[in-house]
Symmetry: C3
Subunit: 445 residues, 3 copies
């Protein structure tokens, strides 16, 4: 069918290399190592209104003290998000492989887009704090990727990465530097933003042909175990995600403790609800893989506020409940009534818990849990994040819908073999369970 020119042989290499070349040129012109000296006193493009520690006294801190936390975040981005999406039975190559591609491009683009707002002497000075933020910027794309997983081509997704990180950086700057709102763990500016951006794209790319599901839109036993690798690494390192760019000292410490406790409580409520709503009280892997993480999303905005250990646990408990209920009852309605086909259920993991986190932040600031915070600014930040996400996602979706990006036809959705060389054995297994396999010789064909 001519409308579906899914052969990537020219399109994909040209787009990927062009993006990289432009990026390298921009780096050559604008990006230098941070030597710790400052010409102007400006923000650092950090999200959540935090700036890097002042330079003279804390030079070493700028340099390497954040490095272990950077690596935790790095693991969340590349292993966490990548493997979380491998639950689909025949889409694991794309899940972990395209995740790597998008994040690798996204972090370079994020360094530029976030760096624009904190240039010093006309230069973007790169340091550990900045590469943490660049990793964060890619998280928005990976969340949106979850909403359209299995239904988009690599070229479409590279375009989405470019657009989304650009728009994200705008909103981030507005929230942090203009509104001076608090969002240390980014419930609003990453999770809610990424989810609603992705849902808007999914809405524009709505496929009536998948209304009744698709044979490949499901898991097999071992694909669910691969996905648990992603879940558990996200779960473990989330305290680093929510505290990495917090003010060093008590704030950062508080963010760690709150996130640790919120996630622990969330596990109990997610398991309980999963059993409660499922046939014969059985646990559902979809809930376990996703809803157990909702506590990390929802406590994000308040993470560095003195909400008390039990406050964090309450937020986590509620997040686990609404996330599980969302998977069970809301996602089917969104798909059938609103035309929003959300492959990974990002609305339940990032969307609703992100909004919950934003709302909790408004309440916490109103109750004086954050020195200098203003509830109105928190509300404005939430509104801004949702607005940028929905409008930005819709526009991006329209661009992605242009007919020459190689979008897969309905019958080839959720199938790696359209864009990847897949071992033959697997296909045989599928078709006839023939017993020999002649997978191609890997290194020496």
């Amino acid at each position: 069918m001519p409308a579906y020119a899914t052969n990537m042989r020219m399109k994909f290499p040209i787009v990927a290399l062009a993006f990289e070349m432009v990026t390298i040129i921009l780096f050559a012109v604008f990006v230098v190592y941070d030597d710790g000296k400052r010409e102007e006193h400006g923000g650092h493009g950090g999200h959540g209104g935090h700036v890097a520690p002042s330079n003279e006294t804390n030079l070493e801190l700028v340099r390497m003290d954040l490095y272990p936390m950077f690596q935790d975040v790095h693991v969340m981005i590349f292993i966490g998000f990548g493997f979380l999406m491998t639950f689909l039975k025949r889409y694991g190559f794309s899940s972990v492989g395209i995740n790597l591609l998008l994040a690798a491009f996204g972090l370079q683009w994020g360094l530029l887009m976030q760096g624009i707002w904190g240039m010093d002497g006309g230069k973007i000075k790169i340091n550990i704090f900045k590469i943490i933020n660049a990793d964060f910027s890619t998280a928005t794309v990976l969340i949106s990727f979850g909403a359209v997983l299995g239904k988009t081509s690599p070229v479409q997704l590279l375009i989405m990465t470019l657009m989304e990180i650009t728009i994200f950086s705008l909103n981030e700057h507005l929230v942090a530097e203009i509104l001076h709102a608090n969002d240390v763990g980014a419930s609003m500016i990453i999770h809610a933003f990424g989810a609603y951006f992705g849902l808007a794209v999914a809405r524009v790319l709505y496929r009536p042909g998948l209304r009744n599901g698709h044979d490949n839109d499901g898991s097999v036993y071992h694909s669910d175990l691969f996905a648990m690798i992603g879940t558990v690494f996200l779960w473990m390192f989330w305290p680093s995600f929510n505290s990495a760019i917090a003010e060093p000292g008590m704030d950062q410490f508080t963010a760690v403790i709150n996130t640790y406790l919120s996630l622990a409580a969330c596990v109990l409520s997610a398991y309980a609800l999963s059993s409660l709503v499922e046939h014969k009280g059985k646990l559902d892997m979809v809930h376990i893989q996703n809803a157990t993480l909702a506590g990390g999303v929802a406590v994000g905005t308040c993470a560095d506020m003195s909400i008390g250990p039990f406050g964090a646990m309450l937020i986590g408990t509620v997040a686990g409940i609404i996330s599980t209920l969302g998977f069970k009852y809301l996602s089917p309605v969104l798909a059938s009534n609103l035309g929003i086909q959300d492959t990974c259920g990002v609305h339940n993991l990032h969307g609703m818990p992100g909004v919950l986190g934003g709302l909790a932040g408004i309440v916490a600031v109103a109750l004086g849990k954050k020195k200098g915070g203003k509830a109105a600014m928190q509300a404005a930040a939430l509104a801004s994040s949702l607005g940028f996400a929905l409008v930005g996602g819709a526009v991006t979706g329209l661009i992605m819908k242009l007919p020459f990006w190689g979008q897969p036809p309905d019958q080839n959705c959720y199938d790696d073999s359209l864009y990847w060389e897949v071992p033959e054995e697997e296909e045989e297994h599928e078709e006839s369970l023939a017993h020999t396999d002649h997978s191609k010789n890997k290194a020496e064909p």
Copy 2:
């Protein structure tokens, strides 16, 4: 059969939510962030007789310096233990999933139980040191979980978690604060305790119907590879486990080096013995997955003592040998003669190596390798740990044996599908190798 009401729909959600609610209430009353100020001078609930560094000078240390080691321990608890148990062909969801559930509840309960002994102004002050210890407390449960893996319901296991951590905290307090014994890497108070507690539970829950084995009590090729993820992460981060709560400086450094070397030597002896005892000299995955870790267990008590690099290597070598021999020759005897069905062979990985560690500690202290240590107190600590484990495990086993906790019937043991929604494909594959799979639609049913 009415005796096996394995439907979890009411029982499990009620127990899980009730446990969480009680925990949150106790946190609201008793737990606050550690602000570094102290009203009283007391112990910190740490195991091994170590207290946190004094507060004035080392405030930052209390706060975040231990954070990278905390994350290593966290990975051991959630990825290490979780994936180590995925070796069973159809029990991977439970292994990694119930591991997450028990550890998430256990760390909250552990913070309370351990915190009781070091309250300050009527409050439990939570910090990084304390959350490392809370993670440790869950390790005992996860070890015991290995002994009863595949033969217990989630409700039974939640009850075991509550009981075991409570009893563990008592023994830990006795060993560290009353006996002033050394056990920095917790050979006695975690490994031996967790193993013998679990074996006592397994004895009480003895199933004559499984005397001749069970079809599902074995691995498949890829389940053994998933288990190796657990093995390798445990192996790599064990130096952090044994040194995380050591005295900063030379002691902590020594604990890292000793554990690193003991584990390296243990690998060689475990591989050698596995080949020696097996048919045609082939390696056995059970030994490789488990006995390679025995060196980390056995060097635990002595880890921060100046036993010399070669001393650590000797301990590791011996541990690898006795662990492998235990899997080959002792486990079958325990099962057939003593009615102790030890699914993961925790007696060989944690039990005997833990006792070996305790004995090595007695010898090392007697030889003056630890300033201020007393051999008699070391012996008392070992006896106490074994005593609390056996009695506590037996009592807990009796409670778990009550007929309304949804324990699985013999024929459904080692099978996820009793408590989990399992992708249909897998079941078909099992029954008829039918070639199509209609796994349920995940997010949009």
Copy 3:
């Protein structure tokens, strides 16, 4: 066939235990904990010409500050290399299991061989810096292992480990202490050395019978996903590999940033080229698993030089291109024309990118990007590394070719079941797809 006495029952345990016993004795005589005091002022056996920071002022640094980076490197060695090689459909046990064995022995042997050159008062003083270097020494073996994967016995590989680390340590000492060349990320002394050493061994062990490939020399769907665990962990932690032993401060920071950026750019070019050269523009998992890492190899020598962020990205881009092209066009030629059967394609991941890194280092030093560096010494270091590798590999290959080490016959290559107990189900599945499996009872046979 009597020539292939592949039964390991005596050979393997004897060799493994003998190696370990000799090692422990040498440790008892020569190795002590580093107490921070120095009798002589000597080098620390570090590669790349770096010595550990001076002792008085930076005692704590020597002790524990490098520990998080050590753990990152540790993960690369044991998870990264181990799982990267699990791509073969029936060789996963050996890939991750023998990787563990070789690295566990290698790090002990490396501590001795590297320590010889920096003895203090007749003792090798072990510290975190030294165990990072010991981990590095094992990387050379694991790279060479990739070239001969599936075609060698565990005994042959233990002998290779002993030989290769001994020769590596010689070359490392020459490059770092005699030539005073720079190679902080070890493009030359680890990657090029390990690759050409392995290729020389593979050449000596050439198997005409595998000229037309082998049924088992290929992947299945899930084995490719296991391999991606290795790829992604290597990719994420490579900045630690290239910076762990750099001079603390700006040099170390620069090494992190350069590596991070080189790898990100490399992903784009590897993906683009994979699509460009493959049938219908599809991505090839072999390229994605390997060529995405070439940027980390190639930027190694220059990592701590002020080549500029865009300079690092250019190196990464070029590395991704030549690595992918190597897999596609060069590996088949090497196999058919030169008799070099390179199972994992280490020539493309470590060989060519390592040489590229060495050349980039010569240029960068010539351009004054490293204070005090001399281009001629860089060139000599590259030549030395290649010379030691080729000669050392050939000699080692000849020793490995002796007929009593249990080398597998052609038809049993790439097959775990020769040296491992493999679950029966797997074999049945292979032969007849019979539907029941009677895997042996694991802990209680």
